[in-house]
Amino acid sequence: MSENKKIGSTYSIPIGPVHPALKEPILFTFKMNGELVEEVDFAPGECHRGIEWMGMRRNPVQIVHLTDRICGICGVSHSLAFARAVEQIAEIEVPERAHYVRTIIAEYERLQSHLLWAGVAAHELGFDTLFFLAWRVREESMDVIEYLTGNRVNYGIVQVGGVRRDFTEDQFPRIEASLKYYEDVAGKLLNLFLEDRTIQMRCKNTGVMSEKEALELCTVGPTARASGLAMDVRYDSPYAAYGDLDFTPVLPHQYLGLTNGDVYDRIVVRLLEVVQSVDLIRQCLENMPSGEVLWEKKYPKILAACKKATGEAVGRIEAPRGECLHYVRMDGNTNPQCWKVKASTYSNQMSWLNMLKGEQIADIPIVVASIDPCMSCTDRVAVVHGERTDILTKADLHRLSVEKTRRLAQWS
């Protein structure tokens, strides 16, 4: 970490893999000119856990709860995406009510994730008061999630073919109370985050990404929406109960009248999505149909259905950070033949390079945090420094993927 080579007037400064600004392990190398960033490079791969490898040695009913653990914050996004993939392969019809339960939990997750992010962003700006406040407000959604699912973080509510727990009438007042709480506090949050001059000074015109760049870099989720791209999996290809709900993707110009694509816009989008989530949950509660919540109560039958299934499918959902995609391929064995996870950060991380260029050191933490990165979701490879360090180039990786695809094709 003490690498400090002076090259002319520039010097390089490493940030990560362990650094107070980064809540997740990733290594950035900045070539600096005074306080200005001239060049950026980053190396992920510090926390690859081989979870896909573990999954391919388990059956889908087991994997569904492994997916909860891919990310520490998105407790339902990954399991929902995975379950959707398996349900498509096994042609399982999910009961209507289960769709609503899934939607409610997914929206609560968005609530808590965005508030968590808002807190982290405030902390990166040195504004710890808002960090404490946002997390205190977030606690309400964690409590409701715990009340509904039995756990604060790893909800374990999604099952292949539905959900494991139904919401009963006597739970509704608690949900209603939390929605009321968020409606009351939303104005205060918007005021504290968006009207504050110091936050405006720090965030406006910082880490700008134009709509064109956002499109070309294939960014997803709030990061893309903050640049003006109206894309949201919930809206574009509705899943769960989203098709029945009335909403449009949140874009910064709805609040500000224009879109800059800067860090400030990303705060706007996420805070407005908090408000939107409250509305969506309320719509779900009003329209919730009655009925079963699980396609089949008997576990042996679910296991058998998964085992019989052959084929491949992609489950896409809108996680709080953007599109989360699971590819599953089943070949009539108990365990899937292939399972591939693409988390939202994977799509968003390349936007860092453009955003960071020309910014000051002071802006690095907030710009990096502005896409709400989650490295533990994203890391797919670990580069282990042993005697020999092989760095695979793009050509190598391409060759390896072609080989793997051939191998997969031969198996089936």
């Binding site: 690498e3 650094h19 600004a21 700006l125 040195g126 504004f127 110091t198 002071a362």
Partner: protein, 344 residues
């Protein structure tokens, strides 16, 4: 009585030791209370008030690690210099009813110079650390220093000038400014225009304090989330403890300076007390005033906003606060010539 250069060495030595002890003790206590204030405002309980003592005790019991790339002598000398210079500042500032230990041997201008010495020690230590974070931190500290120097100087000079304009002898002496002996302060000299000027200058000084003490929003040189502690990143153990103590002493010194300039009143001016009781009451009141200054210019500001970029620090301190200070100065000048409050 043996006198050296017109000074009674016993008195000065004793006073210095007493002030040094007071500075370190009060610094830690005030830092503990300040953390409580901030915690309260953030809806937290916060650490117990004795936490800074525990921190220092813990740091003192640990090894000081000198990094490979560091320049050891400079690296180890910086914390000592920072603490010593912070204490020296206190020797020139009246503490409640007590005259400064070195009263008559230096004035406000000297104090202003001395205020930069702990910061310079930090900068030297940062550059000597041989870490890119510390280097960037040192550069930022220097820029910050240059930024707040202008508004600070304006505020200080405006007050002293106004006192001089009122015909008071020795206006740059802090004992005069605080009116410790005479009971005459800036507020009793100025007229209505001057009061506006004084309030403006008070605002300027309130904002200079966080920059001087490197607290949010001006903690850019340390910036935990950007530079992992910047200047101090390589410091540990005893060296860090000294910096920590220096920070405490500096907090007291800055607050005491603000008190001397703008909140100089003593209880004994209003209530007749026996000399000893007066000293005690004045001192207690002085501590209370320090606490008030810390509350407003450290706690409230630091919990109420985000960190500035270093470029913001420059533009805000030179532009806005410099401008505000000049405006205050103009008011003072007007007050002296036409305001009728002065005794020109």
């Amino acid at each position: 009585m043996v006198m050296i250069l017109g000074v009674d060495p016993v008195l000065v030595l004793g006073g210095t030791v007493a002030v040094a002890l007071f500075g370190m003790l009060a610094g830690l206590v005030f830092m503990g209370i300040e953390r409580k204030f901030a915690a309260r405002m953030q809806a937290r309980i916060g650490p117990p008030i004795r936490q800074p003592f525990r921190d220092v005790a813990k740091l003192l019991s640990k090894d000081s690690i000198v990094p490979e790339n560091a320049i050891p002598c400079l690296f180890n000398m910086a914390p000592v210099l920072a603490l010593a210079s912070s204490i020296v500042i206190l020797l020139y500032i009246p503490l409640g009813g007590f005259l400064p230990v070195l009263a008559g041997y230096g004035d406000l201008i000297l104090v202003m110079y001395l205020l930069t010495v702990p910061a310079l020690a930090l900068v030297a230590g940062g550059f000597a650390s041989g870490s890119p974070y510390a280097t960037v931190g040192s550069q930022r500290e220097m820029v910050t220093m240059m930024s707040y120097e202008l508004p600070l100087a304006i505020a200080v000079i405006a007050i002293a000038w106004r006192l001089a304009a009122a015909g008071i002898a020795d206006p740059f002496s802090l004992a005069t400014i605080a009116g410790t002996a005479s009971g005459i302060t800036i507020w009793s000299v100025v007229g209505p225009l001057g009061i506006i000027g004084c309030v403006l200058l008070l605002i300027v000084l309130t904002w200079v304090t966080p920059a001087e003490l490197s607290r949010v929003p001006c903690d850019t040189p340390e910036a935990e989330t950007e530079l992992c502690g910047g200047l101090l990143v390589e410091y540990s153990g005893r060296n860090l403890a000294l910096f920590y103590l220096a920070q405490g002493v500096k907090t007291v010194a800055m607050a005491a300076l603000a008190v001397a300039l703008f909140l100089p009143w003593n209880i004994s001016w209003f209530v007749a007390l026996s000399p000893n009781a007066a000293l005690a009451a004045d001192f207690a009141f002085f501590l209370l005033k320090i606490l008030a200054v810390i509350f407003f210019s450290v706690s409230v500001i630091r919990v109420g906003m985000a960190r500035f970029r270093i470029t913001h620090v420059v533009s805000i301190y030179w532009g806005y606060l410099g401008g505000l200070g000049l405006l205050g100065l103009v008011f003072m000048v007007l007050d002296a010539y036409i305001g009728g409050g002065g005794v020109l």
